[in-house]
């Protein structure tokens, strides 16, 4: 690193201190509150709340929902970023805006739209009832709402990077006779794989933590349609604060593990790739 681009040491220290103070206030304090509340009566009651059957069933459901929603959004997100970053076509701006749209759709609305379509009074309601297919208040509804809410994560992580990298390498590959898929897997993917992984991890974390949208389509049946965040709410409403925060801690831990995995990958790959050299 050249000296000419360095900031003065006092400035560095000031900025780092500022960032750390804000990080403690904004990010660490809520996290600490969650763990403190969970361990208020020691570790045993917290563990009990986690291994209780309804909590386990909520965990299974949460993992299942994420296992469908995340791959769907990964496939779509990769395709979308590639199309947008590497090609010119009319309506591209509109497409980008549409892909970002679910971020700005209130989770409440993302639940509501599926009720309007699949609810008993909705478009397909009568048909679904005749064929005895349950979409909302069952697994498919939870998956749909979660997919909607986590829709843009992968695309949003990949797109800026792909745009920044331009398309020269891909065009060179094409000139050498490579097909589209080949170009993607041999040229583009290696360039963005860590960003992709990061996006997938974030998408997954959000999928497991989503509350507002799934609350609308869940039906809140214990042991059947309760995801972990909904289970937290139920326990909280039953004055089982320790249990509620214990399950919340587990969710936070899952999130932290996700984030740590992402950080670790970045750490191992940073040197060979040389991004930060």
């Amino acid at each position: 690193m050249s000296v000419a681009t360095d900031d003065a040491p006092w400035l560095r220290r000031l900025l780092v201190m500022l960032a750390l103070v804000f990080a403690v206030l904004i990010f660490l304090a809520p996290l600490a509150a969650v763990f403190t509340e969970a361990l208020r009566r020691g570790i045993a009651p917290a563990l009990e709340a986690i291994v209780e059957p309804d909590a386990l069933s909520a965990m299974r459901l949460t993992l299942l929902v994420a296992a469908v929603a995340v791959p769907v959004n990964t496939l779509g997100g990769v395709a979308a970023s590639w199309a947008i970053a590497k090609f010119d076509f009319p309506g591209k701006r509109l497409l980008v805006t549409l892909i970002e749209l679910p971020f700005s759709v209130s989770p409440v609305i993302s639940g509501l739209v599926y009720v309007l379509i699949f609810g008993a009074q909705g478009w397909f309601g009568p048909w679904l009832r005749e064929h005895d297919v349950q979409i909302i208040f069952a697994l498919p509804g939870l998956v749909l709402a979660t997919t909607f809410v986590t829709f843009p994560f992968v695309a949003r992580t990949l797109l800026p990077l792909m745009q920044e990298q331009g398309r020269e390498e891909e065009e060179a590959a094409a000139t050498l006779g490579a097909g589209g898929l080949q170009t993607f897997f041999r040229v583009t993917l290696p360039n963005v794989k860590w960003a992709l992984l990061g996006g997938v991890l974030l998408c997954n974390a959000r999928a497991m933590g989503e509350f507002g949208a799934v609350a609308v389509v869940s039906g809140h049946i214990r042991g059947a349609t309760n995801t972990m965040p909904l289970h937290v709410e139920i326990l909280y409403n039953e004055y089982m604060f320790v249990g509620a925060f214990a399950v919340a801690s587990l969710l936070a831990l899952l999130g932290l593990v996700t984030l740590a995995a992402k950080a670790l990958l970045e750490y191992w790959t940073a040197r060979p790739i040389g991004i930060e050299a």
């Binding site: 500022l18 960032a19 395709a79 979308a80 209130s106 999130g255």
Partner: protein, 288 residues
């Protein structure tokens, strides 16, 4: 099936008009449109159609209700303010994470994604526990300055900054990381001061990412529900957010009014995002 058919049509148009040396547009755009159509556009079409069953005058009456207007003012005002606050904060975090080496940097880097990973309801419960006037942070603030944060608009604002900030950081950070130092070095070699370099070289390069982060953070904050309802107080005309009104209308069996508010929020958010996208394009063009 119809979705697959519509998904394919634009691909064919692309093939006819935008044909380039690089193959793969048809497949990638086809997948994109199928994905977008099924998960986002068809459901949102349902939202767009529903309100009109009470007629235009019905929709207008719902939206011009003083309480609805107040909720919109709060939701959009607080979200814009939260996005504005995230600008310097996000830039600070992204800068420190990408440019400096210090103990705990990795930890900080991972920590800023926390709002993505923490369930919104849990975040809401935690922040209310912290900021209520008997909480860890709320109690000293109330004692020292007589401030009340929870159940006031400022509480809403803090919750929204929490959800919006990571979007800003994560939009700016990859660009800052990839931004070659050569530009800065060249500027420095040519005798530019550090401030000039930052202002003329770094900031313009970051501008599109800052706009993206602003848009994403704002959009997310506008619709936020889980973390806000616990801390907001939910008083009509004062601390009631627009998504809560949607829930309220739904529970009164008034689907059309709920959809009308939802649609209005969506259109307004969409217009703001579109404007930001145009601004971004203008900024990019200015650089080229």
């Amino acid at each position: 099936m119809t979705a697959a058919a519509t998904a394919l049509r634009p691909a064919r148009v692309g093939r006819a008009t935008g044909r380039r040396a690089l193959p793969g547009l048809g497949l990638s755009l086809g997948v994109t449109l199928a994905w977008l159509g099924l998960i986002v556009l068809i459901p949102l079409a349902a939202l767009a159609i529903k309100p009109w069953q009470i007629g235009i005058s019905g929709v207008v009456a719902v939206l011009l209700d003083a309480r609805v207007l107040a909720a919109f003012r709060l939701s959009f005002g607080a979200a814009l303010l939260a996005a504005i606050i995230s600008l310097p904060l996000g830039l600070l975090f992204a800068w420190v994470i990408t440019r400096y080496r210090f103990p705990g940097r990795r930890l900080l880097d991972a920590l800023v994604d926390l709002p993505f990973a923490l369930p919104t309801a849990v975040a809401g419960l935690a922040m209310t526990a912290l900021l209520a006037n008997n909480g860890w942070l709320g109690a000293p603030l109330a004692a020292a300055f007589g401030w009340q944060i929870a159940y006031r608009p400022v509480g809403v604002l803090i919750a929204l900054v929490f959800v919006a900030l990571p979007f800003m950081i994560r939009s700016v950070e990859p660009v800052l990381r990839d931004l070659a130092l050569e530009g800065e070095e060249a500027a420095a070699t040519l005798g530019a001061t550090r401030m000039q370099t930052l202002w003329r070289v770094v900031l313009p390069a970051l501008a599109p990412a800052l706009i993206t982060g602003f848009g994403l953070g704002f959009g997310r904050a506008v619709g936020e529900y889980g973390s806000v309802i616990f801390i907001a107080g939910n008083m009509p005309m004062a601390t009631e957010i627009a998504p809560l009104l949607i829930v309220t209308k739904l529970e009164q069996y008034d689907d059309a009014a709920a959809a009308a508010i939802g649609l209005a929020m969506l259109v307004l958010a969409f217009l703001i995002l579109l404007a930001l996208n145009l601004l971004q394009r203008w900024v990019r063009r200015g650089r080229a």
